[in-house]
Amino acid sequence: MIASLAGFAVISLVTPLLTRWLGRNVFFLIAALPVAVFVVLLCWMPGILGGTPLVERLRWIPALGIELSFRLDALALLLSLVITGVGALVLFYCARYFRDDEPALGRFAALLLLFAGVMFGLVTADDVFVMFTFWEATSVLSYLLIGHYTGRKESRGAALQALTVTTFGGLAMLVGLVILTVGAGTTSLTAMIAHPVTGAAAEWAIALILIGAISKSALVPFHFWLPAAMAAPTPVSAYLHAAAMVKAGVYLVAVLAPGYADTAVWHPIVIVLGGFTMLVGGWRALRQYDLKLLLAYGTVSQLGFLVLVVGFGTRDAALAGVCLLLAHALFKATLFLVVGIIDHSAGTRDWRKLSGLGRRMPVVAVIAGLAAASMAGLPPLLGFVAKEGVFTAFLESHDGWGTVAVIAAVAGSVLTVAYTARFFWGAFFTRPDGSQTPLHREGALLATAPAILAAAGVVFAFAISWIEPLFTPYADTLPGRDESHLALWHGFEPALALSAMVFALGAAPIALRRGVARAQAAVPHPIDSGRGYLRIVRSVDAFSAWLTTLIQRRGLPGYITVILIVFVGGVGSAIVGNRSWPAGIDLWHYPAQPFIAFAMIVAAVGAALATHRVTAVLLVGVTGYGLVLLFGMGGAPDLALTQALVETLTIVVFVLVLRRLPKRMAQRNPPVKRALRAVIGIAAGVLMALVGFIALGARIQPTIADGLPALSLEAHGKNIVNVMLVDIRAWDTLGEISVLVAVATGIASLVFITGRTGSAPRLSDAPGDHVRPAAHETSTSRPQWLMAGRTLAPSSRSILIEVLVRLLFHPAIVVSIFLLFVGHNAPGGGFAGGLLAGLALVFRYLAGGRYELGEAAPVDAGRLLGTGLLIAAGTATLPLFFGMTAFQSTWFEADIPLIGTLSIGTSTLFDIGVYLVVVGLVLDILRSLGAEVDRQQEEEASEPDAAEPEVART
């Protein structure tokens, strides 16, 4: 079974490709798969009917007790035969139904084949959650297939209706399944049926699951989606919406009946809704002009009938029910396929426009006649056999439900006879005016599939004693006498009398058409939940639009305001209820602290009030450098070092961008809002201070930091902070450098319009007029300190800076590498080292321009980032190959003259990765926000026509 399912999945995947070569003939090819599965199922049949179901298992989610378990018993076998048999024939039919130029034919073929596989998985799955997954998959595939004509409004509307209704039911069912699983302690469907859960929870669970079943099988009040689904291509209607998918609900009722038919909610739902649906469907079918819609309402009616019979809960009813299921699949698929032929031949399905088809399409008429007779329950056809069985089973049961069921079944069958007559007469007879609808001939191959299905309905009726063993193993799981059999001829029994009465009464509506039509109009839409659905959906849409405009109309500042108010309110109320206030507070830890803090406070407030961008940035920089002092004096040398480097870089990056933006920041906030912002700001600030105060005082557990020194020495490092970054918490750092890689890539993508890879431009790329000849310079003897210095305009050059950069660049790189390697034992490490190397590049760029950057770092920033990440991730995964855990460290120690004992570990390698990523990030920033922005600026300046965005509007 699992192999077949995999087959369906794989072949569906390649089907669109095959369709490109084979056109519509691809259907012949893919039909071979359901045929093959059908044959395999036939081979398994003797064993399964002998009483040994086929079971296959695969572990999936052991933690939840969910496994891919499949079980093929008699009922699943019958359904699987229907699914693969009808599926193969429908695919075969498709090969001539569609034309080669049908849009999205490959997608359609793949989806239809995949549907057959999913449906097969649904009926064979034994784990309820696996079954549910297939269940939902059929809903999705049904959505895609109904919506095949994506350009048509009605297709889209119908597809969405079907999806909404069936997934709504599916959701209810999932809740029911969860309740049942918890109660039963297993996810196995078989075990749940063998040992039924009892009690109130089980009642709820069954009610919810039945909601899922009746929504899928289109019972009242969910029936409206099925007629709408007729917007699908006819093969889809024949397969999904007659033979296979809508049977999923019936199947579920049949599966649950042996264990749960005696729960209190069962009979009211199954019998009342089933019977009522049978009547509503039949009544509506009797009013249709569109043959396909007539069949659709007929299907609704028959599905109600099936649920009524299968859910009745006795052995004989179950026997008749599964026979009816088979009969319905055969005749309804046939009729839909016939309507497809009529539609193609005559160009319409409205029987008012069809006339004289029976004489000119005799074969099709015979096929349709056989199927229609089976639908009406005429002998000697399978439909008759099944219906006789149903009447007998209901008459035998002498309780109240039996009476209700027999009345509903008889009344429904009368309507069935009537609408069948309407269908056949409408499709094939000549209208009174004697006109002949012009026909376009279809090939004989198109009629093959319906012919086989219709013939099966006849053959099975005569061979009923041979196919009955397919039904009895399931029926015997239900209570009741087990000697009754299905047969074409039972002798003169009450059921036969009922059948005769049904035929007689069924003729009446045909004779009294005028009266029926008036009654139909007088009792408009007995239950028109389709309109109710539209009203619900529309009010939901209107509500969500209203809600969206209500809460999403404030722009970014508004959203942040809301978030902050919730934050202040939430955390604030927690503080109000706080009982663990710290005992005391120090004014300061060392005398310099308040002075540093005061300077930072002034800078922060100044930055908030500044109107010029650069002023604000520099003031923020003051707070950053203040942090450097606080860290340095507060026992955090690594932080001080890193913060100093980062702050410098931040200011440079800011200036790189701000030089292009207008000096003044736009400010269009009314004063009222300013007051509000101030209030929120003050509240948030005070709150943060209180949080810090309380959190520190609330520390009652010993800090984990006490264990860190020992761990650090174990990791061959003396600098605990660095050891934490590259060893103890290396996962964190790996995540962080991944973010840096993403950020660098994002920056480059934002700034480069085309192609963000590559290195900064090299000197050789510089256009001739950019390299200013030495002769133009005031002093020809001026030495060249930087390689690309000549590409800058003389006014932008500073000899002093060029000399400094020339002298400092290489020492800076050496120091950065030194920092990288001593980081394990002294302040430094990959971050600090990388940032220093990055700063060195920044100064080369600032002094010499973008070509200088290309000369200083002639590498692709992306490669640096990738290599760094690869090294870091490599140190994570490499230990796995040696049977160790990820990031487990190994060391090599050596005594090296001058330096002393050097211990190189895998954590050092990791730090090298970090170093490369940081250098790559800085290089990417310079390349994008520096070099590329320069280039774009120059390009703009050389196009005088271009709009001048730098004119500041004040």
Binding site: K153, G157, Q161, A228, R287, Y289, D290, L294, D350, R514, A517, G530, A545, G555, P557, I560, I585, W588, H589, Q593, M600, A604, V605, A607, A608, V617, V620, T623, L627, F631, M633, G634, G635, A636, L639, V646, T650, V653, F654, R660, L661, A666, R668, N669, I680, G681, A684, G685, G692, L696, T703, A705, P709, S712, N719, V721, M724, R729, A952, R953
Partner: protein, 154 residues
């Protein structure tokens, strides 16, 4: 452990000013607010290490009991570098929106209410088109219903 009032006040002021600037429509201001808030949060984490001790480096003669708590420091170190990355990314965003839109002075302003109303209008259009789809299928179903007058005519 006792907190330093100085650091608490500093954290409050920086956080408050950061939030105040962040609530404006100019993206540059939002970014400046982001930096202030980022620094304030780093101070908050730093406050958690309590009174400062020696640097957490186990050199000769350093008693592990005298060092500062290294855990907040590792967190802050990570935060500092991420701040740099996010700042640069936001700057790229600002530059891109300004340069591509060629908006001059107002280039880095983010959406406000009026833009949101346009968005809401678009959302309503989508809702309406879904309703049209539903109507289309309902019309087809209704069209197939037999009406008594039609039978009279036949």
């Amino acid at each position: 452990m006792n907190a330093s009032l100085t650091l608490l006040v500093l954290c409050a002021v920086m956080f408050g000013s950061g939030v105040y600037v962040m609530l404006e429509r100019s993206l540059t201001r939002v970014l400046i607010g982001f930096l202030l808030v980022g620094n304030a949060v780093n101070i908050l984490i730093f406050i958690m290490s309590g009174a400062p001790g020696l640097g957490p480096i186990l050199g000769a003669g350093v008693d592990p009991d005298d060092i500062s708590d290294p855990l907040p420091q590792a967190f802050i170190l990570t935060a500092i570098v991420i701040n740099l990355g996010v700042t640069a990314f936001m700057l790229a965003l600002i530059y891109r929106s300004w340069w591509l839109a060629q908006l001059g002075d107002e280039g880095d302003l983010v959406d406000d209410e009026s833009d949101d109303e346009i968005e809401a209008g678009r959302a309503a259009d989508i809702v309406r088109s879904a309703a049209q789809d539903d109507d289309a299928i309902q019309q087809i179903i209704d069209a197939s219903d037999e009406e008594p007058e039609e039978v009279e005519h036949r």
